[in-house]
Symmetry: D3
């Protein structure tokens, strides 16, 4: 039995619930999914500032996971916040959903299009594509301009996103779609059905990537850059 | 229940057996591994010529897999021969072991070293690293200069490879090792134990990658470059 | 007197005849052109599968060339199939027509546009541009969506291709055109005349590149990756 | 009169003092340097974890700077933590010391070597060189393996660093040195004198870069990715 | 007191005057700006030929600057002609306006658009973006097709350029504009006012960059490629 | 009958003679080689300054070639000085010897090593490798530190260069050598004989490349960047 912590680095618990359902749906027998909400940080991550502010809460969740004996971690935000730091802290493997989604999509053809939420987050997706070596597969990044938290409540959201996917496929000549937000995870099957092309949800992809790494006994190499960080006295912010 | 065909594109059945054991060892419950040997081609793949000559046999195996209802395929040679053509033929996903091993290792730190068999195959590994966007993670490619088929019989093989891995780690400052030949798959655990760093076997990595793709219902996009190839009358070589 | 084998890796002899005429037209005095058709493989090459299946026939032709004392080889298909393997087999130089056409066009300005046959082959052209370092010169790849064998019979083919070239020049702001199929070789002069820009036919370009290499006494370096492949017992496919 | 805030994103005030002296030494007349220490975070930044944990304190300092009417900001840590988020928050320009040091050194020849503190931080320097387009100028990254806070107290530190610089120049064939830590800023003149090559201190370089931007009236573009982040209710960690 | 020579490498003195005014306007107290016109060469630089022919005159100006004790140099043409050679000759730092403008703009967001004069100069701007590592920030290069010398006399010039900037911002999704000609320097404030985005003039940027380098005591590294060139007898062109 | 001007852009006529012999030795029947010495400029090209100063003389030679009806041009210095400007001026094709040598060597294996004269010229060779897309084939650049004009007179020169080639082959694992100076052209056969690997002389390579371009009727595209430069009144330096 292995345990994978799927951490939502924003503080919105309804979003964590959806993420947990997606992870659970693909996890194999013998894998326990623990969906976790960050205890502090922003309610949604839609800017570099939001992302930066989400990292301490995420890292705190990793620490709790270590205490609880987690075997691996998913960072369930498409900005993959805090990934390097989390790899230093964690014993087991840590995978971001952008990382996993893009790598997964790279197996499906020459290239994919990313469809994300707000335009202002497109730059971050481009940075990550470069970081993961996925620039050559990432043929375009598109925004539907729906705020993250509206994904749950806006009744037209799925239609708008599906349309953005269709336009992206045409504009980029791509073979597959990558959904660029954890909040879109539960729409993946419906969008796939409408478009008839492979659509990748990062939450599922990252959960299975971590599951596979755990199955192979693989974890972050600790002989250099990603060794446990040296213990230090941190000055902590006092309440508000 | 899903069925994954793990195809050894050389004609050496003892090697297929080892590959099959590795794939089986990591496959989840509900996944049937079918280890297949190419019916024609070279006994081992150690040159561009060997690789080119292995492809028709590999593609024939894919055709048989399609007839048998395979859900996905692993190409179990570190040169990933025929990958693009196989994706055109197959309904389900197809993954090469170099592709899967490198992507898997990219989750484990800043970079990895590849340790392969003959020096003359290092160029192919470099080409694949570039193709998969893994150049930035692939910090070095090293050869142990043991022919592929000697991996099974040479009693010093594992020791020589382990030593090559150790030197690679130091020379490259890498976080992990990627074993650059399907014939090394069964040595992975022992080498890991000796080195104390993550060591990635591509057969395991690719098997789990295909299993995950199948789990998510993802397959090669068929709207463009990877559509089923147009049917044609092929002139076939008459046996020697 | 030197002899250059120009190998058509598909099995359509009328196409070989046209290729041979183009090669002959540019070859210098003292250079004998031998236009050769593959003995087995696909009638035209329009997919990764076709290309993979053409390689054994091509390599067989190289072997025959070696027996006949050929001084150098042209691979006369814009996918440059089997180039690496051919370089291992051959004593003299081997050049592909995509390789030669793109390098030739790189001398003519900042960049060129490729105009090829079917859309599904555009990806292969992009792969080759990268492989040869020509990505920076290759400003766009365009398809006219005429199947290879229709180039000879479709009376509108040349007009459609010329129009595609014109659109490519405008869209890419390029200085020259590269024709992306050996089957277009004989249209080169007419298209040049209509467009008034340099138009490069790969058959001519590769023939002259091989002729120049032979003139300088240059052949593939054999001290490493491209040494003659180790002799092995290959299992050969029997009959159909 | 313009005011530049030079923010030390670790909590060690003696280091801030040194940074402030360096900034002041190069600042022009009419420029007020305000050297600021982060109110919370790590005492030194030597891992991805340290860096991530330094960002909220840094951003809080930016907020204070906005309230105080700062005209521009220097992030005085060679990891350039929180740069994107800071640019969203600030009205005036924000420059990191790695960014400024590398760009400055790029004017001095074909390339430079970076000499930093701990080996584990070399990866971050490489990431930043790529991000800023400075990979082509950054010919090598070297560590002297002196912890950041020992730079002030270890009497051999300067000698060790100077020696590391000398070795780097030879190994890389570089034209200049970039000092890879704000804590090395005050050694710059002495190392320059010993080596006789240009040595760049990022604190000076970034201070002057911000001063120049302010002089030209240039600030972060706010029409897209770097617009002020949307206001949200953040959950704040309650002090330990 | 430091002296910066701002060299206009064309022979049009009215353009030198404008360049001098821009440099003076941003230079700090204690910095003397010497605006210099090349004594021979083309009246404007609008082709590779013009640029090549401007270099000897520019280098002659550098020699005069050395005799006069100049502390640093700006090459005030957006093609940055003769930069490498000038760095060999000069004791102090030398910076081109394209180099400085692009680096300056890289601090202002994810990327910038260049707006230059004639279309035929766009290639040179692209070459320079690559040379300086600024390709990743340079999101597009656009021409307004106004000849250089008409910038001073054509009453519609500023309007046309402003419109080209506006279109560039939209087409590229960029955060800032880089003006691609020294002759546009004096329009910078007005264009900024109209567009409301950061607009970078290279003359100002390079002047401040050189001023900063001088302030830090930094000059071209002289231990290798940029050492003073070996003295030789040059054959000089006689008369016309 | 076609006429190719092979221009030595330095003023040393003995070097022109050697270059002419090499070009003549490979040129086909019906091709007249005209070896030309620049009328003004440096006696040898060993710095960016030398190279810049050689360009006007080279361009003057191109003008004379145009008047004389030259069909194509070789720029016979490994720095390929003035290539872009020459392409604007000339009606026929213009090829540099670095360009031709590197492209030629790219057909001979995975990669080549360049062996040049002075260390300070290695940077220029690297710039050209990048410009021509040959970075991926150029596995190393090495200097023998023999001044250009000593190549003719130093009796040990060939031995020193041969040894440098041997070391380069081992250090880089390359398949071929590119000689990095026109002054080495006549040593090519002897070095080849000693090393037993392909050795490429750029003068031969460029001569044959131009011959091939002329044979195919290809010349620089003139519809954009490389159109004839606009006529202008140039201010000319009055002889010393």
């Amino acid at each position: 039995m292995s345990r994978i912590w799927v951490i939502n680095p924003n503080t919105t618990t309804s979003m964590t619930a959806g993420i947990g359902r997606c992870a659970q749906a693909v996890a194999g027998p013998g894998v326990e999914i623990v969906a976790v909400t960050s205890e502090y940080g922003p309610p949604s991550i839609e800017s570099h500032y939001d992302e930066a502010m989400s990292v301490p809460g995420l890292l705190e969740a990793i620490r709790r996971g270590e205490d609880a004996g987690a075997d691996g971690y998913v960072i369930a935000c498409f900005g993959d916040p805090g990934l390097d730091a989390a790899r230093e802290l964690a014993t087991g493997p840590v995978v971001g959903i952008a990382e996993a989604a893009m790598q997964t999509a790279s197996h499906l053809g020459r290239g994919f299009s990313v469809v994300t939420t707000l335009s202002r987050t497109m730059g971050r997706a481009a940075d990550l594509a470069e970081r993961y070596g996925m620039q050559r597969f990432c043929l375009g990044i598109h925004a539907c301009d729906i705020p993250v938290l509206d994904l749950e409540t806006d009744p037209t959201a799925r239609k708008v996103i599906t349309e953005a996917c269709r336009e992206a496929l045409d504009a980029d000549g791509s073979d597959a779609i990558v959904l660029g937000c954890a909040g879109m995870a539960e729409m993946c099957a419906a969008i796939t059905a409408e478009l008839g092309v492979p659509v990748v949800d990062g939450v599922s992809a990252a959960t299975l990537t971590v599951q596979s790494l755990v199955r192979m006994g693989l974890r972050t190499g600790k002989r250099g850059e990603f060794a446990t960080p040296p213990a230090k006295e941190y000055t902590v912010r006092r309440g508000v």
